[in-house]
């Protein structure tokens, strides 16, 4: 079986799209990293991670699952969870704007947002 022209063009288009998206993520504003934590599409907490003095541990319960989230200076992770696949735990620490942790079974999303300059008030609810 021979590889055809269409195969090569398709592969190049896919890989270029992936590259363009990577560059778009890398060029996001990188200061004042804020973690936006939402459950079922509803924002529950916004935590400014940059300059966070003491680590914060948060607990989210939804759909019979529980996620323990740990926030520290400039980074955040799901420390432990009782979801079956453990993808959220395996993601580990995230620290760059645009990075996301998703726990599909519990519908938990942690998304990092950045800004250029300016301080935002820490909101812990």
């Amino acid at each position: 079986m021979h590889v055809k022209k269409g195969d090569v063009i398709l592969t190049v288009i896919i890989l270029l799209t992936a590259l363009a998206l990577f560059i778009a993520f890398l060029s996001m504003p990188s200061q004042n990293i804020t973690a936006v934590i939402s459950v079922d599409g509803v924002v529950k907490n916004k935590i400014v991670l940059t300059g966070l003095k003491e680590p914060i541990t948060l607990k989210y319960k939804n759909l019979g699952y529980c996620n323990i989230v740990q926030a520290a200076n400039g980074k955040i992770c799901v420390e432990s969870a009782d979801c079956p696949t453990q993808d959220c735990v395996h993601t580990g620490w995230i620290n760059r704007a645009g990075q996301t942790i998703i726990c599909l079974p519990s519908h938990l999303i942690i998304k990092l947002e950045g800004s250029n300059g300016k301080n935002i008030d820490t909101v812990v609810g």
Partner: protein
Amino acid sequence: MEKNSLNASKIALFAILTALALALSLLEQMIPLGMIIPIPGIRLGLSNIITMFAIFYLGAYPALLILLCRIFLLLLLSGNVSSFFLSLCGGLLALLVMFFLKRWAGRYFSLFGVSIGGACAHNIGQIIGASLLLSSKAAFYYLPVLLITGTATGILTAFITSALFLSVDRSRIFTRYHLGSKSVR
């Protein structure tokens, strides 16, 4: 009489292919790919081999039937509703894309293009499914990584599938039993 026996052999073939696809789905669940690339629903896409085989040898409708049976049986075995929904979204989009790529197979695309397109379409379908489940576009963050892993797994399954096609053509099972048309490659 002969028509009935033909139907029976087709039903048997569909059942065998469904069982094979199901076994491949269960097999890839045992491969902890999520440990290396922690993305919800990431997989090797081995059951795509069966979908491609069905598209090439049996047509779009049997391929759809086998796909739906496999996904539904997987739900019965795992009881995981959210992964059922993701498999359904991914599987249907992959089938659609592979069918249209196959239509131009002889001219523009080989099995490799069909396989890569199908694997990436599967991943995009899963992201769309996850977005619906999560009521958020957050899952699109994984799109670049999933496009690259889709290309890699698409190439892998294309190699396996081309070996499968070769041995099926050699065995002449399909010409002997008049099961569908011979593939166009």
